[in-house]
């Protein structure tokens, strides 16, 4: 086993940590915005919903169902032409962020739809009975009522994104996962592997704690 010099190791870990944080947070924020919009569209175009629209609903569902099952490690490579068209390059952190955003957006869209559908129909009906327009009911009742479980769903996506960044090394995105694979796994450097894994665990734990706390606050439980 050839352990690397700590003087070299720590800056490497620092850079990787920053890359991971950058990839996760940027893609998380973008995917949350896009995913919530798609989730609202999915919810409100369902059969019997307030903006019922079979065409939009069918197409959107088909796209989501095609993209979501593709393993990320394949998707990130498969969409490289699209990545190049949008980002300008198909390698590097930016390219990784693009791919991460796409998978997370579709996952969040589904999670948002599920949580919106689960909102108590009675609350929705009360809104209608009070004379709120369908859009107003959507904005001031359906979304706020779904926010608690939605926060937990978003936390789950955040953690999944940390996991997915490990694959980002494939397109030169860097990050902690990539460091663990190249130094720890492929070069059998246990110190690097353990250090990196501990960092990832801490990151995930912190995210989960924060998510739980926010959800609890939103749920008033």
């Amino acid at each position: 086993m050839r352990d690397i010099d700590p003087a070299v190791l720590w800056p490497k870990i620092g850079t990787a940590l920053l890359q991971t944080l950058q990839m996760v947070t940027v893609s998380f924020v973008l995917a949350t915005l896009l995913g919530l919009v798609l989730g609202l569209v999915l919810y409100s175009t369902r059969r019997g919903a307030l903006l019922e629209n079979a065409a939009v609903s069918t197409v959107l569902n088909a796209v989501i169902n095609v993209v979501r099952p593709i393993p990320f490690i394949i998707l990130i490579v498969a969409i490289s032409p699209l990545t190049r068209a949008v980002i300008g390059t198909s390698i590097g952190t930016g390219a990784a962020i693009f791919a991460l955003t796409i998978v997370a957006t579709f996952s969040i869209a589904r999670i948002a739809e599920t949580n919106l559908v689960a909102v108590d129909r009675g609350a929705v009906e009360a809104g209608a009975a009070m004379g709120a327009s369908p859009l107003r009911v959507l904005g001031t009742i359906v979304v706020p009522e779904a926010l608690g479980p939605l926060t937990l769903g978003l936390t789950y996506i955040f953690v999944a994104l940390v996991d997915a960044t490990a694959v980002a090394g494939l397109v030169g995105g860097g990050g902690l996962g990539n460091l663990a694979i190249t130094y720890g796994y492929q070069r059998f450097d246990t110190v690097v592997m353990v250090t990196v894994i501990v960092l990832i665990i801490v990151l995930v734990q912190a995210a989960q704690l924060l998510g739980d706390r926010v959800a609890r606050r939103v749920l008033h439980a």
């Binding site: 009675g122 809104g127 209608a128 009975a129 004379g131 706020p144 009522e145």
Partner: protein, 374 residues
């Protein structure tokens, strides 16, 4: 139709209800100021290719200021009927009018505005979990475009009215069922609606809490003059707060009238069953056969309604015809300030004397045979 109603209708068609002063006195049948009017309302839909008639040609008028109860077993169509009042359900035939406007024909913004004049209370409360008690009551006010200051004042007043001023900042999840329903009532009253519709508001509550919530509804009717149309499967609810009642079965109204009339002289078998679920003036058939074993004389039910004289008819008849009267069962109730009741009595004496005594009793009360001698 009253003169006021006619004038109002001439001056402002469709808004006649608004131009007439609200008055509890106008609650007599045909009083002419209906706030809610069902005109031949039908509702049918298909379930698995089978046609279901939820409502069949229902016509009813709810007069301004009344507490009007609709009672029926589950599946009688009463909730469906209630939900046509704010167009949560639309009739497939006939029309529903609120304050003189045909709500069943309104759409879009017109409908949203009309709904703000109709408060609704739900069995499962349907509060917004994401908002505080304050936020729930404020919701319809913000919707109506009140300023923040006006909203604060009005919510404070309403929460005091329902006795939950100290819970304003709590979330519904922290409240008991009865408290949740009181918030529901405060929310329904927020925009000072003309009508409050209540869909089984007490069915999820225990008897003690039910009483409190019914008192609150009665108080809302007394103090704010809001007309209340409520649906229930519990005759006890009708007895405690309703002025008038309609009995529904299989999508039809089978009987309607003042609570006193319906309770004291039910005409339809379903009504009788509902009445006997809360009043036990008559012995059950099992009890009656047991009584017959002991009391071998002539057993009759005397139905006594509205006795305004203090004629001691039982002892008078007994003395005049030389028969003995033995009261074996009975019950008396008071409704809307008037008494009514049933007595099951045994008449002992000569057959001719008993017959003559019964003839006399029939002049004062309704007499029904309680079965032949055992």
């Amino acid at each position: 139709m009253s003169a006021a109603g006619r004038v109002g209708a001439t001056l402002a068609p469709g808004e006649a209800g608004r131009t007439v002063e609200p008055a509890r006195a106008s609650s007599a049948p045909g009083g002419g100021d209906p706030v809610v009017e069902f005109r031949g309302v039908s509702k049918s839909y298909e379930v698995d290719g089978r046609r279901v008639e939820a409502l069949r040609d229902v016509s009813l008028q709810v007069e301004r200021g009344d507490v009007f109860g609709i009672v029926g077993w589950s599946g009688a169509g009463k909730s469906t009927l209630l939900r046509t009042v704010n167009a949560l359900e639309r009739p497939t035939g006939g029309s529903v009018h609120v304050d003189g406007r045909e709500i069943s024909a309104l759409r879009g913004r017109q409908l949203h505005l009309a709904r703000r004049r109709i408060g609704m209370v739900f069995q499962q409360f349907n509060l917004l979990q994401s908002r505080t008690v304050y936020g729930n009551v404020a919701y319809p006010l913000r919707l109506a475009g009140l300023s923040r200051e006006q909203t604060v004042d009005r919510v404070e007043e309403l929460l005091d009215f329902v006795g939950l001023g100290h819970k304003a900042l709590d979330h519904p999840s922290r409240l008991s069922g009865g408290q949740k329903q009181r918030v529901g009532i405060a929310r329904a009253l927020a925009t000072k609606p003309d009508v409050l519709i209540s869909d089984e508001a007490t069915s999820a509550l225990d008897p003690q809490t039910t009483g409190e919530v019914l008192d609150l509804l009665r108080r809302a009717n007394d103090e704010y003059g809001v007309t209340i149309l409520l649906v229930t499967h519990e005759m006890e609810v009708i007895r405690s707060i309703a002025d008038r009642v309609a009995v529904m079965q299989d999508g039809e109204v089978v009987e309607t009238g003042s609570v006193y009339d319906v309770f004291s002289s039910p005409q339809h078998p379903t009504t009788s069953r509902f009445v006997s679920s809360v009043l036990h003036h008559r012995a059950s058939s099992a009890t009656l056969s047991r009584l017959r074993e002991v009391h071998t004389g002539r057993l009759v039910h005397l139905h006594v309604v509205d006795r305004d004289s203090n004629d001691p008819f039982l002892s008078r008849v007994a003395r005049e015809h030389d028969v003995d009267v033995n009261v074996v069962y009975g019950g008396v109730s008071e409704l809307q300030g008037r008494l009514f009741g049933d007595l099951t009595v045994e008449l002992l004496g000569d057959d001719d004397a008993v017959e003559a005594a019964l003839g006399d009793l029939r002049r004062t009360t309704t007499v029904e045979e309680a079965g032949a001698r055992a």
